[in-house]
Symmetry: C2
Subunit: 143 residues, 2 copies
Amino acid sequence: MGLSTAMVRNAFLVNAAYSENSREYGFSPQQGQLLCILRSQPYGMGELGAVLGLAKSSVTGLVDRLERGGLVRREPDPADSRAVRVALTARGGKIADQFYTETRERILGLAAGLTDAERETLAALLARIADENNVSVIFMDLD
Amino acid sequence: MGLSTAMVRNAFLVNAAYSENSREYGFSPQQGQLLCILRSQPYGMGELGAVLGLAKSSVTGLVDRLERGGLVRREPDPADSRAVRVALTARGGKIADQFYTETRERILGLAAGLTDAERETLAALLARIADENNVSVIFMDLD
DNA sequence: TACCGATAATTCGGTGTACGAACTCACGGC
DNA sequence: GCCGTGAGTTCGTACACCGAATTATCGGTA
């Protein structure tokens, strides 16, 4: 199996894990992704678009729906009254952490057949790729 | 960076590559994915749902739109008159090959900073994960 | 101070994605 | 010849995206 094929299939597995777990929580994969991003800090709408690779107008609705569900809140930006800071609510923070942890486990489970050394090698190589393509900070432990 | 984080970020990169390339061709990522799957052989609607992890009713519309664009065709299954075989048209086959090749290059480009040996190691590890989680056959060279 | 281009975000209209439930129709065993 | 099962479609609903147009503020400049 060539590298590109292996990468595509792994992306498919990760997407599926993400989707299934989101579904169990009653939200869409995109909403789950946004919750994970907000775990580290609040973001402005424009920033979210940049991080997610979406048009600003797409972010509006995404945040709307999470806000309607009480997981997220729009706060006025103290330094710029045009801007808005999107932050997790108390409930949203709890759910986001739980969702993150479960998703993390599910994804690690995909690599359960590898030895510790292999997992370490894999993590290092994938991290190189991520770094060299300056991916958005999309999923991370908070420690 | 932990393994799960690295995997999620790489999936994000692959998704983005897929999306951007699809967009250049004027179709959605899902449509591009379907075209790549059909490169190897025709599939029934139910099979497609299983391969893609979608409900049957979702596949109907996906195929409808590609058929409207003349990239795909529904053929009657000679052995079962309830069933349908979805196949690439001549034009669809050309476009699918071109799309596949470009996407492949784009994804390999993500790993451009790795040495040949590293790429080989990475491919082997990812292939193990794919095999052990019996992923659908979603992206592949035809040789 | 008054102006004006740039920027943050929303609104709007349109298309695509996805689901489950209900339906049609052919298959195939009995 | 009947009937349960399986293949696909239809329908209604909700979400995900986008680009273009809009509103309101920011900040530099005359």
